[in-house]
């Protein structure tokens, strides 16, 4: 892998992402529809529980939920599957010399692709609630995609690498992501959080990002300060994740 041209890495990522897509839906009939069905079903459950039963005072609650759940789903899928990425690709890692982090890139890109493909569903709900997509999306979506890509990469790299050594991480991640879900303003809005807990919620590196997604998708607003903050968070998480990964990567072929 001495001559690492840009073209080569592009090809590498494309082929691996295609592979992920093919492998994931190899024996399923509905394929990509499942990636929408899951957040939609969740949205329905939360709608019934919080809007109908608990009368949460949020307007357009379905849309509100979807605008948070779809990006969350991307994060969740990537992080959950990252635990198994290196294990699932053991035959490749043990026998061939290539940058193993491209496997994670492919996984995260793959889930990102699914998220992008689910944006039309969000648009559909916008129209149902009598709203319209905004022109700000053309800048906002790429910006937030990049930020979320970086932060998801950070988590995924760390988890995938550690899981090779401590297989328990897989379970821990499961609990961790469920906790994180409720610590992130997805089913409630940040205004509803009592002020003494606000710092706690906002210190969650995903909170700002998901608030930004919702503001962008629902109201067509991209707050520069929020985006910058989310970006800083993502860079920090990525750096930590990458350092962990780098520290462990030489042992991969030995533990697998």
């Amino acid at each position: 892998m001495k001559k690492a041209s840009l073209e080569y890495y592009k090809d590498l990522v494309v082929v691996l992402t295609q592979k992920e897509l093919k492998v994931r839906y190899k024996r399923s009939f509905f394929g990509y529809l499942w990636s929408i069905a899951n957040p939609l079903a969740l949205a329905l459950v939360f709608f019934v529980a919080f809007k109908i039963f608990m009368k949460i005072p949020i307007e357009n609650y379905t849309l509100f939920l979807i605008a948070g759940l779809f990006p969350w789903q991307w994060f969740l899928n990537s992080v959950n599957s990252s635990a198994m990425v290196f294990i699932g690709n053991a035959t490749l890692i043990k026998k061939m010399h290539f940058r193993h982090d491209v496997l994670i890139v492919a996984t995260v890109l793959n889930d990102m692709l699914h998220f992008i493909l689910s944006i039309p569903v969000i648009i559909l709900f916008l129209f149902i609630y009598g709203m319209k997509p905004s022109a700000v999306w053309f800048i906002g979506i790429p910006v937030l995609l990049i930020i979320q890509f970086i932060i998801t990469m950070g988590f995924s790299l760390a988890i995938s690498a550690i899981n090779l050594f401590f297989r328990d991480i897989e379970r821990i991640v499961f609990i961790f992501t469920s906790l994180m879900f409720y610590m992130t303003p997805i089913i409630y809005s940040e205004e509803m959080v009592p002020s003494e807990y606000k710092t706690l919620i906002l210190s969650n590196p995903l909170s700002i990002l998901l608030i930004s997604w919702r503001n962008l998708l629902m109201h067509g607003v991209l707050d520069v300060k929020d985006s910058a903050l989310a970006f800083i968070y993502s860079v920090i998480v990525f750096t930590i994740g990458y350092l962990i990964y780098r520290r462990l990567k030489w042992r991969f072929a030995e533990v697998l």
């Binding site: 892998m1 001559k3 041209s5 073209e7 080569y8 090809d11 590498l12 494309v14 082929v15 691996l16 592979k19 093919k22 492998v23 190899k26 690709n89 053991a90 035959t91 490749l92 890692i93 043990k94 026998k95 061939m96 010399h97 290539f98 050594f165 401590f166 297989r167 328990d168 991480i169 821990i172 030489w250 991969f252 072929a253 030995e254 533990v255």
Partner: protein, 561 residues
């Protein structure tokens, strides 16, 4: 010109990771002890190894299992990093390390070619250009569109080799993967490798196949316990290695010799285990005559027949019907086959049964024809042997493969003395070999059960569903219908005995998992035994149809043809 590969004082150790993979909790609860034990319990794979492989060289690495050969390949491929010292490589590396390396079971052949090519450093455009060539070379035809999990091990190897050689690597790493291909394909691979070195590429081969190593390599290194014992001219090194194992080889004389130093200990020297059942002792005084393949002039390796000593013992027990009586003493007691002078052995890859024949004084000397290299002209070859010369003709898995069996047997009869015997260990199932539904069913069931309940390798589940697919695809490589073996023999010989010793479960299951089993591991030994026991019970009950048997024939005295 810089060397293709340079190892400079390379030191590599593996901590025993089981301590951590056993679980986070236990690791954390005993953190200080865990860390201490991590530091203490490690396996040192390489202890300061230095060598260079020049460009264009074919470099062989030999040594016992666990001596560090694969670690060297792993370091060369760049999948691992040395703990001390440095590994430098020059040029694009293609690894052909193991079966299924660099492939994904759920992707089709084509998709895997692309994936493998990209991972070894090619662009997509490059791979598109080579795709057709690769597919053609692999001879996979329409299978190329099927997911890899439906492939047989031979098809895997074919695809792997095709990709590896077509992406123009400057260094090719080969780890015995070629052993699984059929003869045609092996020949093709050998030709391709020759082409390869002529064009200046470097090849590093790890193998136990001494004749192949001696033939292909320019230089050989013998590794033992992480150090280089000897490096240099292939024959010298192989000689030293075999000497270390207790075998003497003299390549310098025209006549090549193999002497066993201490009868029974050879298999132990190879790290194998015999069944713990008490057995009658072999005759200890051994005649000093050489055991050499007549065709290639290479010494015959004293391995046990049928891949593993455990299987051997089970097969023998099945034949003799009594674990206390060895196969050879059985031959003596039941059929008075003992103390024969001259034997001719024609065997298909399963070398070494002759050693046992000698140890038990069943037959004191053997001429050997090793068939894989000579199948095509075997009938001619046997015609050139002395008439009326041999007391015993021993055939292991060859008769079913010979095109003109009738002519072959006529000649075989001619070279035997008047009171000569033929002992054939052969497949004798129905003609036009096909697994019966029942056999596949039983194999499938057992295979799944074993995959679930044993810790065979982690990727075994991806193969578990494949028995039926594989068995459909796999027609026996025989050109002749095998059923003719016994009737054909009957035309020339008086059949004294037909004793079964194995059947389809061996082929369907054991062949497929044997390379993953550890012959020194008690659990794996049990696994082999259980499969073989099932088989033998089913054969006795007449449920399994495709069978292997030992056939003993006596040369018919009358000349009536």
């Amino acid at each position: 010109m810089a060397p293709a590969v340079t190892f400079n004082d390379v030191y590599k150790e593996y901590p025993f990771y089981q301590h951590i993979t056993a679980g986070f909790k236990s690791f954390l609860f005993h953190l200080p002890r865990s860390i201490a034990s991590l530091k203490k319990t490690k396996f040192i794979a390489l202890k300061g190894i230095s060598f260079k492989v020049e460009q264009g060289e074919v470099f062989g690495i030999i040594g016992r299992n666990g001596s560090g050969k694969s670690t060297i390949l792993g370091l060369t491929a760049g999948v691992m990093k040395p703990d001390r010292g440095s590994v430098k490589t020059q040029g694009k590396i293609s690894s052909l390390l193991e079966l299924g390396a660099g492939f994904h079971p759920d992707l089709s052949g084509i998709e895997n070619i692309m994936l493998n090519g990209i991972l070894s450093g090619n662009t997509r455009a490059d791979m598109m250009k080579k795709m057709e060539q690769i597919i053609e070379f692999s001879e996979l035809a329409d299978f190329i569109y099927q997911p890899l999990r439906t492939y047989s091990s031979g098809m895997h190897a074919r695809l792997g080799f095709s990709v590896a050689v077509h992406i123009d690597p400057e260094i090719l790493l080969v780890d015995e993967a070629l052993a699984v291909g059929d003869l045609d394909f092996k020949g093709k691979c050998n030709r391709k490798m020759k082409e390869f070195t002529e064009s200046g590429a470097t090849i590093i081969i790890v193998s136990h196949d001494m004749p192949a190593i001696a033939e292909l390599c320019n230089r050989v290194a013998w590794i033992d316990s992480g150090t280089i014992m000897k490096i240099g001219e292939p024959r010298e090194v192989i000689k030293a290695y075999l000497h270390h194992l207790g075998l003497e080889v003299d390549f310098d004389e025209k006549k090549k010799l193999v002497n066993e130093t201490e009868g029974g200990s050879i298999s132990d020297a190879e790290g194998m285990l015999y069944d713990s059942v008490d057995r009658e002792e072999p005759v200890s005084e051994l005649p000093d005559s050489p055991l050499v393949d007549m065709h290639s002039n290479f010494p015959v390796k004293p391995l046990s027949w049928w891949d593993s000593p455990i299987i051997m013992h089970r097969c023998e027990t099945f034949i003799t019907g009594n674990p206390g009586i060895s196969f050879y003493n059985y031959l003596k007691k039941e059929y008075s086959i003992a103390g024969l002078q001259k034997g001719l052995s024609i065997c298909n890859k399963l070398k070494g049964i002759e050693h046992n024949f000698r140890q038990y004084n069943t037959c004191t000397s053997f001429d050997i024809i090793d068939v894989p290299d000579a199948l095509d002209y075997l009938p001619q070859e046997i015609r050139e042997l002395k008439l009326n010369h041999y007391d015993l003709l021993l055939c292991v898995d060859v008769l079913g493969h010979i095109g003109d069996l009738g002519a072959f047997l006529k000649d075989a009869k001619a070279i035997l003395k008047d009171d000569g015997f033929i002992i054939a260990l052969e497949y004798i199932g129905p003609a036009y070999f096909q697994w019966t539904e029942q056999e596949i069913g039983v194999a499938d069931m057992l295979y799944k059960a074993f995959n679930n309940h044993s810790d065979l390798s982690a990727n075994s589940d991806q193969q578990s569903a494949n028995i039926s697919v594989l068995s459909n695809e796999r027609n026996r490589a025989t050109a002749v219908s095998s059923e003719t073996v016994i009737p054909m023999l009957q035309k020339r010989f008086d059949i004294v005995a037909v004793r079964y010793f194995g059947g389809p479960l061996y082929d369907l299951i054991l062949n497929r998992i044997l390379h993953r089993l550890d012959q020194a591991n008690e659990k794996d030994v049990m696994l082999i035994k259980t499969i073989m026991q099932c088989e033998q019970i089913l054969i006795k009950n007449g449920i399994l149809k495709n069978q292997y048997a030992m056939i003993i024939g006596e040369k018919r005295k009358s000349h009536g043809e």
